[in-house]
Amino acid sequence: MGVARLKKAELYYHKSIHEQIAAALQETGSCQIISSSEENHSRPAGVEALISATDERLSDIRYLTRTLTPHYVDPVPALDRMLGERPEVTMTELEELAAKTDLKAVCDKTRAVERETGDNRQKLSDARNTALILSSLEFFPYPLSAITEGTKTLTGVIGTVKPGNVSGFKAALGDFSKYKDDSELIIAPYDEKTQDIYAALIYSRSIEAEIREVCAKHGFSPVEVPATLTGTAEEEKERFAGMISALEAKEAELDERLNALAEENVPTVQKLSDYYNSLSARYNGTAMSDETDSVMLTRFWLPAKSADDIRAKIEAISTDVELVLSDPAPDEEPPSLLTNGNTVRPFNILTELYSSPKYRGIDPTPLLAPFFWIFFGMCLGDAGYGIVVFGLILFVFKKYKKIAPGVKDFITLFLFCSVSTFIYGVISGSFFGNFIDAFLPPLIPMKNALMLVDPMTNPMQVLGISLLLGVIHLMFGLLVAAYDMLRNGEIIDAIGDKISWFFFIVGLCLYGVGLGGMLPPHFVQIGGAMAIIGAVIIFIYAGKGEPNYAKKVINGFLALYGSTSYLGDILSYSRLLALGFGSAVIGMVINLLGGLAAEIPYVGWLVAITVVIGGHIFSIAINILGSFVHPLRLQYVEFFGKFYSGGGEPFTPLTLSQEYVNVRA
């Protein structure tokens, strides 16, 4: 339990076997390589070459993954993949696959198709643009070569005029009556809504300068007509329609070719991705070693428990190796690895989400686990929901046998919590909300017999329980902090800053509860005495080290004022009531709607069943989110605030990459 004891290993071996050594370390999956402490450390030359060769392969793989994955339809659903339904391979098989696969050739083929697709797409977009321009040139009766090429004496221009300018433009051109025979103005049909009126102007080259001036003056803006257009707009339109459909067909065909390439190659590329990523990690690990002419030295952390296994594995490779194990020096900060048994391990993720403990710190996981379990149960708080979640997870575990350990732990966390959900649901009489009261009246006596609390009619009782749990949780946190301080020999601080508060708050609670008549009267005196002792210690401790008596007193009162933060912390646990209440009432509302729907003639029962089932599925999903987040907050903010700050480096051993495949040893 707690943070695993690590050993620091120094492994000396001959250069010639560095690949086998690294492979063995990687296969154990429990060695974290330490960077060389030498200044100006340079990677050993032999390894450098291996790394760059692997990087080259990886860059091909990244290219193929990026390009082909969008075209790949995985025959196995993504959820199944996530739950471990992946190919099982060994490193040897992957090695053989890598040897016989010509990644370069696949890359070249893919690049060629990709390039062709790009060109085709460009052509298609050009053609579409031209077709768009053509659709507004239909008013022009002559072949477009009159504009794009012109003749020896004539040329032309097409452009747009704003509606306000049309008459002025016409008039101005009319003034050139002497050129009248030399020019022709054609205006596209328009109505009052047209924004840009198309106009074409054919004129003699001899008057080009004057025409341009008139055009500029009257806001005529020329439209670029692509030079390839020579026929009439009608003819060109037809030509481009044909061109576009040919290009579209080509695009579909290229897409098909990419799909085929993807179907053929993606599974291999994925396997090789894991293979080369494993190699890359392995070589980069070796690269952190120091070397002499013929010997290499690799340093790594390993769990003390696995030391013998690892030694055996290494010595199996060669007898000419030297493995020196030592305990971490006091000034070293080793990474932290959480070792908890099967019951607590699923909760590790909650600690890791916050921050791993320091190597020499406390692992808070076993401490928070029971509280999280209870709090989650109170927030979701419904026997029916508990059964549904429990059943669903059992089904998943039965169907999927190869779930990755991390994912499995996370799911197991919810399996555990579904049990507390069920228990609290029974205690508080909630089964799919008020399903029993609404639809199964014969079961009401059984439900009532099992009920210990009733949040619906007596919420104050559950509020009291929530706050009491809060006090227990917080006080437990304080005691852990005190223990941690005592362990480090800070006895005065432990008493002055932690135990004093414990006395003060527990005393106040006993006093208050005693006054309320819920405990025998002598608890009032005991509680009062505890609170006073606590307060006095807090007061004195706060003034410690302050020579000025007035300041001593001020500091003392300020410290006592800190009790408001405890008040806030404790009240924060009222969310346990509120969220449990929330799920119960949402469930009740769903049943109510179901009941109302059942009154619809003929199809009522069908609607009712849909509403009730769909509603409860929604309720489970939304309430699980809340029931996970809020108890977690209580751990992180209220509980951890008392004693835990994390700050350790998580243990990240050298492992085989298993993104797409399960690699067996």
Binding site: E352, L463, S574, A578, F581, G582, I622, V629
Partner: protein, 160 residues
């Protein structure tokens, strides 16, 4: 004037559902915009983005919950018929609805902004999901407290 009490109570229920709902809609909208931005970079973050986007949605549910609570108290659900209410009782119910209406409205908007920031955080650091989910939850605390206040107040109001 005989129905003034009922009207006031209904007004309270409407405020609870409407204001908290508006807040959630804005909050989810803000978070959704950030989520869409992050997903243009990496569509695989859909799952985590969706969870973070959903967080400011609870206020709307709390509002709905209180509204139903009121309707149930008034006997408007099911065929029993409305209970008789003095205007004073109606005003009490209206007052009970205000905590979740006002706090739900505002906290959902701010929670949405925090969610949006968290979504951008996991855009850069996907491993920080745990922290990303806690920051918006800090805001929600006050909506939960308001819900609790509204529930306790409603339970205290005697009708019928």
């Amino acid at each position: 004037m005989e129905h003034l009490g009922l009207s006031l109570a209904l007004f309270g229920a409407a405020l609870a559902a409407a204001l908290a709902g508006i807040g959630s809609a804005i909050g989810i909208g803000v978070a959704g915009g950030a989520a869409a931005g992050v997903m243009t970079e990496d569509p695989n973050k859909f799952g985590s983005c969706l969870i973070l986007q959903a967080l400011p949605g609870t206020q709307g549910i709390y509002g709905l919950l209180i509204a139903f609570f009121v309707l149930n108290k008034l006997g408007l659900l099911g065929g029993a018929g409305a209970v008789a209410l003095t205007w004073n009782q109606g005003l009490q119910i209206l007052a009970s609805c205000l905590p979740i209406a006002v706090v739900g409205w505002y906290s959902a908007i701010w929670q949405g902004k925090t969610s949006a920031a968290s979504i951008q955080m996991i855009g850069k650091k996907p491993e920080a999901m745990g922290k990303a989910i806690i920051l918006p939850a800090m805001v929600e605390t006050y909506a939960v407290l308001a819900l609790l206040t509204s529930i306790l107040m409603l339970m205290g109001v005697q009708v019928g």
